[in-house]
Amino acid sequence: MTVSTTELRDAARQVVDDLGLAADEQDTWALVAELGWLVLEMPEADSGLGLDLADACALHVELGRGLARVPFIAALLAIDTVVQSELPERADLLASLGSGDRYIGVPLAETEVQYVGGKLDGVAHGVPAADRSREVLLWSGANDCIALVAIDAPGLQLECSNTWDETRRLFDLHLEDVVPTCILARGDAAHALLRRLRMRRDFALAAEAVGGATSILERTVAYLGERQQFGRPLAMFQALKHRCADLKSQVEAATALLEAGLAQTASAHDCAAAERAGLAAKLLANNTYTHVVEEALQLHGGIGMTSEHDCHLFLKRAMLDEHLGRGRDAYARMLAGGSLYDT
């Protein structure tokens, strides 16, 4: 990790801690824009900071720690895709995206969309804060078309996904004969851009999960240190200690894997290796997050079952997250696919 990544992380932690878990989406978004996080990865030529995915993921980790209610992952994915594109209005678009005035939503789950005859049909799942976006970045299930679609385009309907996790505010987009605002890429170019987008989405989701897992484990350990039972703090009971130690080793492993994978994306120009590292990071991070929250709920006892306590916010986020990206069971199987037949 370069020094600047560390600085970025420390600053972000301070910001997220100050905001707290309940911070309002609008306020948080304004702060994210103000801090320049939206231009983090934009090239310096485009007035960006020119930092890389590892830096972005350092922020995702911190936002994940605080369950920040802000569509930062989707925003960065859209910005990167526009940066990679050759849109005529690229410069203007980047300026408004970077300032936070404009937000383009991106589905965090896989889409079931077809592009036929210049029109999009189907459903796109899991677009965060779509009601705040002017356009949404969508692609065809066949991966041969990426388009921007206006949120008020005829034939497009927004439906709140109403997930148990209320911190992401996801939407389903139902499309019927929707004409895109513009096409960003077709054919092989679209394929390549989508590989990049999915790889980055995997890393971003992994980073948020690592942050969330770290945070809920810290909170659980702190709770056990305070809560007295049988005349002692719960933290003194060896059975609980050992469970926390196992969780800690898993969180550290997921963190190390994420960081090692990000290092690979920076140094190597091997797209397949970066993709594979993203798959592994996402898989382990989500496995870890769900396992940690499951244990955290048990270790908190009754208090964790009340909505006044924060435990459930992490639980619901973790339950949702494992189904985002390429889907719950795709990761292990894609990873295995490189080594096993018939996959």
Binding site: A109, Q229, F230, F237, G301, M305, L315, M319, L324
Partner: protein
């Protein structure tokens, strides 16, 4: 078993025929996403029917409507109710089991005459044992009951009391004496929930439900005649309360879990993943564990019938049930995918197998935390059943709350 197969068969046919005619129809649909009040209405209506038929009180002694049934017959009725997928009588469980059995075992004749008919008529009770700082540790109870002439003055707070907001009476365990060993200073009272100074605040649960409540006591007067057992003997009376359902709940819960397996299979098939060997492995292993849970619960009840129950037997069943239920709901979460995460409506009166997997998963913690957490059960199994040495002096554990 004490009965011939014929007599058992006849009872089973009788009960199942009655259930066929009387179980509220389509309650899973009508109770999904509904308000607490309409749920209470369903419970009242269903209780009146079941009670009038005598099937709500098979565990009461002979002489009471429906009473005098053997434990085997009680089990049979529980099984049939579970199989018929009737709503659980959550609102009346404390009255029918905890209150009634405590009164029958430790109450005065006058107390029995006052409350038992009222319970059969639908009086609602709640339990006042748990406190915010005494989850699994009854010795830490702090709610006070100070004797002043003919009354006790009660001050303090109870929590995790099921449906206390609808209760008429409360089974209260309070501390009358702080001088002796912790278990010695407890007194058992029957408290009127409508008395001045009682405040109930429903607990907002992470599922959106509020079936539990906190109860606050502010100088609440309880007549001495409402004391069960002697002053300071509350611990022993509480044991009678806790033992009251004698394993029947776990029989019912495990049967309900088995009945819910097809719901999981349907979800797998509906996802087009019946041929996914990873899901086959998980589902097959779950089948075996669910069957084992039923077998454990049956065996435990049999031990109670024959008087062979040993220390830790109940903990084994509860622990295995809670772990199996967790795996059940985890598999559901896996199969349900993104779509299942978007279904928020919860179903009242069901157990942990509604088919709304994230909800079921969260509710599964009711069984691994409440009624003696998994951790407390493990302590009991290790120390009382396996005979592993206890930790030194003040590292004590308490049966369960």
């Amino acid at each position: 078993m004490e009965q011939s197969d014929d007599a058992t068969g006849a009872l089973r046919r009788e009960v199942s025929a009655w259930l066929r005619d009387n179980v509220p129809g389509a309650w899973r649909e009508s109770m999904t996403g509904t308000a607490q009040e309409s749920f209470v209405e369903l419970q009242r209506g269903w209780f009146q029917k079941l009670s009038a038929a005598g099937y709500a009180t098979p565990h009461w002694p002979e002489g009471w409507l429906g009473g005098g049934r053997s434990l085997a017959q009680q089990k049979l009725i529980f099984e049939e109710v579970a199989r018929a997928d009737a709503p659980r009588l959550i609102l009346y469980f404390v009255a029918l089991y905890h209150a009634a059995c405590t009164l029958l075992e430790c109450g005065s004749a006058e107390q029995q005459a006052r409350y038992l008919p009222a319970i059969q008529d639908g009086q609602i009770w709640c339990q006042g044992f748990s406190e915010p700082n005494a989850g699994s540790d009854l010795a830490a109870l702090r709610t006070r009951a100070e004797r002043r002439g003919d009354v006790y003055i009660v001050n303090g707070q109870k929590t995790w009391s099921t449906m206390a907001q609808y209760a008429d009476r409360c089974l209260l365990l309070a501390r009358n004496d702080r001088s002796g060993p912790p278990q010695a200073g407890l007194t058992y009272l029957l408290l009127d929930m409508h008395a001045p100074g009682v405040t109930v605040r429903p607990i907002s649960q992470i599922t959106g439900d509020d079936e539990f409540a906190e109860i606050f006591f502010d100088d609440v007067e309880v007549p001495v005649t409402e004391r069960v057992g002697e002053e300071g003997a509350g611990w022993a009376v509480a044991q009678a309360t806790l033992a009251s359902e004698r394993g029947l709940t776990l029989v019912e819960l495990s049967q309900r879990m088995r009945s819910a397996l097809p719901r999981l299979a349907d979800a797998i098939n509906a996802a087009g993943r019946g041929d996914d060997s990873a899901l086959q492995d998980d589902f097959g292993n779950l089948l075996a564990r669910v069957d084992a849970t039923c077998a454990l619960a049956d065996r435990y009840l049999h031990k109670r019938i024959t008087g062979e129950e040993g220390p830790g037997d109940a903990s084994i069943v509860k622990l295995f049930y809670s772990r199996t239920l967790r795996e059940f709901t985890l598999l559901g979460r896996r199969v349900g995918g993104f779509t299942a995460q978007c279904e928020r409506g919860f179903m009242r009166g069901a157990t942990q197998e509604t088919g709304n997997w994230p909800l079921d998963f969260m509710n599964s913690y009711n069984w691994s935390i409440a009624g003696g957490s998994d951790e407390v059960q493990r302590n009991i199994i290790a120390e009382r059943m396996l005979g592993m040495q206890r930790e030194p002096k003040d590292w004590h554990t308490v049966e369960r709350i």
